[in-house]
């Protein structure tokens, strides 16, 4: 049985599979099932039963999310399915691999999802800088259109679907799903108030589902090989496989598809090859720049949503950023704060004014001018910018590495103050 449904066709040393090659290995089987009479509600039930959770960061159950979309004769005729391909979370490099390695997998998944919610228009919201992904996806979309897998009355099902590739004009906040909808509508990408949730009133006020690239890439396997197979993939409590990445000063940084529930130690030591010579692991962000630090003592936990949450962090994107013993934690967090303060959309005050202040303080620490008063201000901001205090999750995302960093690497902050310089600089 297939054990790596997301990456089984990926080999970056050759061009990705074209439609015929993809189809020859069980591709577009979901569409064929649909042509044989599978109802949208059957697709929804399968996805619900699979236990698939969103891979975009929040880990929300995909089937449950879809179930809020109005269905039936009274539902609005126009609905939208949107793929979030804005990958911009610092340290995250997984969606690119999927799009450039196996573009038909994403299109296959989009057809399944769009059919389930009966959306006739789907957008791929692609990061503007991903020029290679754009080229590869455009080619694959043209093939699918030519083959009649997109367009009107697909395979005589009566179902119509157009997929439109939209390239973003840039900014991290566009990845937040309601800001993304504003960007698609050609507006400034500020997030929207919820409710109403996009499932009911989203793009141009119509019911809309936004899912991450990797989430969507799970769907073809679920349709082709079924629930039992899918639920059998895991080593832990959550279902399926996931892309896990490691960057930083490890021997072989990279991105691999592993069963959920794989021990973190295995990812770090077997796949990433452990730390480079002469370096020790000091900590790591388990799922991109918006997650809380974890420590070497957490290595024996599993890559599972609950396990990671138990250690006070989040699995989120599953791409780890490794902090080694010779890299300054204050500098690393300072780099993240610069990112978050630049990327604040400016809509709400705590984030717009708070993040630049936090960033200034890190610049002071770097310049050897940090004080205990500054440290207290940083502590306060972990609270001011925390969950529930701002309009969207960007600012709380910033407080994750900040708050955990202050807690775990206190001594490093203290040394910057007492020595009035960065102790990591020669």
């Amino acid at each position: 049985m297939v054990s790596n449904p997301l990456t089984r066709n990926i080999d970056l040393s050759r061009p990705p599979f074209d439609l015929a090659a993809y189809e020859a290995v069980d591709g577009y089987r979901g569409l064929r099932e649909i042509a044989r009479g599978l109802e949208p509600s059957d697709v929804l039930d399968k996805v619900k039963d699979s236990g698939l959770k969103g891979r975009g960061g929040a880990g929300f159950p995909t089937g449950l999310k879809w179930s809020f979309v109005p269905m039936g004769d009274d539902a609005p005729k126009q609905k939208y399915f949107v793929v979030n391909a804005d990958e911009m979370e610092p340290g995250t490099f997984k969606d690119r691999l999927l799009m450039e390695g196996d573009p038909h997998l994403l299109i296959d998944g989009m057809i399944i999802a769009s059919y389930a919610i009966q959306a006739n228009t789907a957008y791929i919201f692609l990061r503007g800088e991903y020029t290679e992904s754009e080229r590869i996806l455009r080619k694959a979309l043209a093939e699918a259109r030519e083959r009649g897998y997109l367009g009107n009355n697909i395979l005589d099902t009566g179902f119509d679907l157009e997929i439109i590739l939209h390239t973003s004009a840039g900014r991290y906040i566009c990845g937040e799903e309601t800001a993304l909808l504003n960007a698609l509508e050609g507006k400034r990408a500020n997030p929207r108030a919820k409710p109403p949730f996009p499932q009911v009133s989203g793009l141009w006020g119509k019911p809309t589902i936004v899912n991450n690239v990797e989430t969507v890439c799970n769907l073809p396997g679920i349709m082709a090989w079924g629930i039992d197979w899918y639920r059998g993939l895991t080593k832990g409590n959550d279902h399926g496989t996931k892309l896990f990445g490691v960057s930083g000063k490890v021997r072989s940084p990279g991105c691999w598809e592993l069963p959920l529930g794989t021990p973190i130690r295995e990812l770090m030591e077997v796949y990433a090859g452990g730390m480079r010579d002469g370096l020790e692991l000091k900590g790591f962000l388990p799922g991109g720049g918006s997650t809380d630090f974890m420590l070497p003592e957490h290595l024996d936990l599993n890559l599972d949503y609950d396990d990671i949450a138990g250690a006070g962090s989040r699995l989120a994107t599953g791409t780890m950023i490794v902090l080694d013993s010779q890299t300054c934690p204050v500098g690393m967090i300072g780099n993240l704060m610069t990112f978050f303060s630049h990327e604040s959309c400016g809509y709400c005050t705590p984030c717009r004014d708070g993040l630049p202040w936090v960033n200034e303080i890190f610049r002071a620490f770097e310049a050897g001018k940090g004080s205990h008063r500054d440290l207290a201000i940083l502590e306060e901001h972990v609270d001011y910018l925390g969950p529930g205090k701002t309009f969207c999750a960007l600012a709380p995302g910033a407080t994750a590495p900040l708050g955990s960093g202050l807690r775990y690497f206190r001594e490093d902050f203290e040394r910057h103050i007492s020595e009035q310089r960065c102790p990591y600089k020669q």
Partner: protein, 175 residues
């Protein structure tokens, strides 16, 4: 700009004169993909930028007139997004990743080398008009950090790369 706020311009003839035929054709294609002019507005700015390198005030006004959008609104959109350039840029834009994984892998030192090689800092353009250097968040290749884009091309593992050779390719007029 204030006097033009919320002004809707009825005539598209001025815009039609300013915009080139290929630009108009591409904008019209975008119209088929989105249900309203506002969404097309952002796409139209990208189209004009693709052909002219950046979005000047004249370009912005022409797009607004052509699509009958309020200029102030389009301006607000244009300035919000990073990849819409409201100032002239060099023939090749260097998008230099300064996010966390690249930072750990020494992107600041490599950036100093680039700045030395080209004689420019972030936000600046070389005197020969060949390059503009702009910082950008994570380029999604963190396992091969440090990373940058030159024009549409991604360049990885920059700590081991021959930067001079990379830039030479673009100086010779490659794309």
């Amino acid at each position: 700009m204030n006097t033009e706020e919320n002004q809707l311009i009825a005539s598209t003839t001025v815009a039609a004169d300013y915009l080139r035929e290929t630009e108009i054709a591409e904008i019209e294609h975008e119209r088929t993909l989105y249900p309203d002019a506002r969404a097309v507005g952002l796409e139209a700015l990208k189209i004009v930028q693709k052909h002219r390198g950046w979005v000047s005030d004249e370009s912005l006004r022409a797009v607004a007139e052509y699509l009958r959008l309020p200029i102030a609104e389009l301006e607000g959109v244009a300035t919000f997004f990073n990849l819409i350039y409201r100032r002239p840029v060099g023939r090749n834009v260097i998008l230099y990743c300064n996010s966390v994984s690249c930072w750990i892998m020494g992107c600041e030192q490599v950036k100093d080398k680039i700045a030395g090689e080209l004689g420019i800092d972030f936000g600046e353009t070389t005197t020969d008009g060949n390059f503009t250097l702009i910082p950008v968040p994570c380029l999604g290749d963190c396992d091969r950090a440090p990373v940058m884009m030159v024009g549409p091309d991604q360049h990885r593992n920059l700590d081991r790369a021959d930067l001079g050779a990379i830039f030479a390719q673009y100086r010779k007029g490659k794309e």
